[in-house]
Structure formats: C-alpha cells, structure tokens
C-alpha cells in the first residue's frame, strides 16, 4: 500500500468520523432503550390483546372507507 492510498484512507475516515460518531450515539441510545424495555415487566392478558384487535378492526374499516372516498375524488 503506497502513501497516496494511505492518505486517501485517512482522508476518508476523517470525513466519515462525524457521521460515525452521530450514528454510534443514536445506536447506543436505541440499544439502551431496547434493554430498558426488555427489563420492564408486564405480560399482556388475552383480554387486552382481544380488545386491541377489536379496536383495530374498527380502525381498519374506517381507513378503507376513507380511502375509497379519496380514490373516488380522482375519478370524479
């Protein structure tokens, strides 16, 4: 590896350092949050899951209805 190549690599790494640093900080925060979430206790009951699914069904229907009306705007 000649000096030109080494200089090019050093320049590249120097240019990338701010991005790397910012990415590492973000990643560290995400992983920290992930582990905090994992340590949080709490199991969802079947009833809770069923309630969420029922609410989802209503929201899904409303979304379909709204989009059908929106799509109709384009054809009118």
């Amino acid at each position: 590896m000649n000096s030109t190549t080494i200089t090019a690599i050093i320049n590249l790494v120097t240019a990338l350092l701010p991005t790397l640093e910012a990415g590492a900080v973000t990643l560290y925060a995400d992983v920290k949050q992930l582990l905090a979430d994992a340590n949080a206790s709490g199991a969802a009951t079947p009833d809770q899951v069923s309630q969420v699914q029922a609410l989802d069904a209503a929201s899904d229907a409303a979304l379909e209805k709204a989009h059908a009306a929106y799509a109709a705007l384009a054809t009118n």
Partner: protein, 139 residues
C-alpha cells in the same frame, strides 16, 4: 462499556461491509438477538396500539382531503399514506398473532417486532409530511 463496544463494533462492521439495509433497527435487533433480549408482550401491545393511532391519523388525513374535495397539493399523499397504513396493519396483525400464541416476543422471532416498529416509523414519517402527525420534541 462492553455493550457500547459491541454496538460500535457492529456499526463499524456494517459500514465496512456496506450491507444493504444495514439500519439502526437492524443493528439493534442484532444486538438483541445476540443478548437474548425479549420484548414483554405488554410493550409489544403498546407498539400495536401506536400503530392503530397512526392508522387513525391516516384516516383523519384522508377524510380531511375528501371533505376538501382535494386530491392534489397537501392532499397528494393519500395513496402513499394508505399503502403505508395497510403495510403497518399487516405488521401489527402479525405482531398481535405472535403475542396471542407465544406471549413475550424474542427479537428475531420472525422479525415481527422489528417489522412493526419499522412500519410505525415509516407511517409516522409520511404522516409528518402531511402535517397531521407532529413528532414529540424529544423523539
């Protein structure tokens, strides 16, 4: 400190390998799998709830455009919003099905947790463009 080294190492590996789709979410998942992290079902259920809230915002946006009889300008995102909301619904349903059958969600278990959080992020992103979703200042 060990965790930070692991994360930094994964980030560097990701950079050097230039792996397509090597995102923060993917790396967090990789760390989770490596350390056997399991997401409590209550937390996963909260993600599903957030997805429904985002879906309701999508519906609000579409309904607003219908009321204004507008398909252009600020209302030009309608189909994108709808498609992202549909994709989020699939991710949410898969996550809920997993919780129903297994309870807590180990990271890497079919990618159901990653898929749901990614879909939520995607939907929130397009809703932010429409102006109906305003991210919290600290997020």
């Amino acid at each position: 400190m060990k965790l930070f080294k692991l994360v930094a190492g994964l980030a560097m590996a990701c950079l050097l390998l230039s792996v397509a789709g090597c995102t923060t979410t993917g790396l967090v998942s990789a760390v989770g799998q490596a350390t056997g992290v399991t997401i409590p079902s209550s937390k996963a259920l909260a993600v599903a709830d957030s997805l429904r809230t985002a879906e309701d915002l999508a519906t609000t946006y579409l309904s607003g455009c219908v009321a204004a009889k507008s398909h252009t300008g600020a209302c030009a995102y309608g189909d994108t919003v709808y498609n992202d909301a549909k994709a989020a619904n699939i991710a949410r349903d898969n996550l809920l099905a997993f919780i129903s059958q297994h309870g807590d969600v180990p990271l890497g278990a079919g990618g159901v947790y990653d898929a749901a959080t990614t879909a939520l992020s995607t939907l929130q992103s397009v809703l932010t463009q429409t102006g109906v979703y305003k991210p919290a200042a600290n997020s």
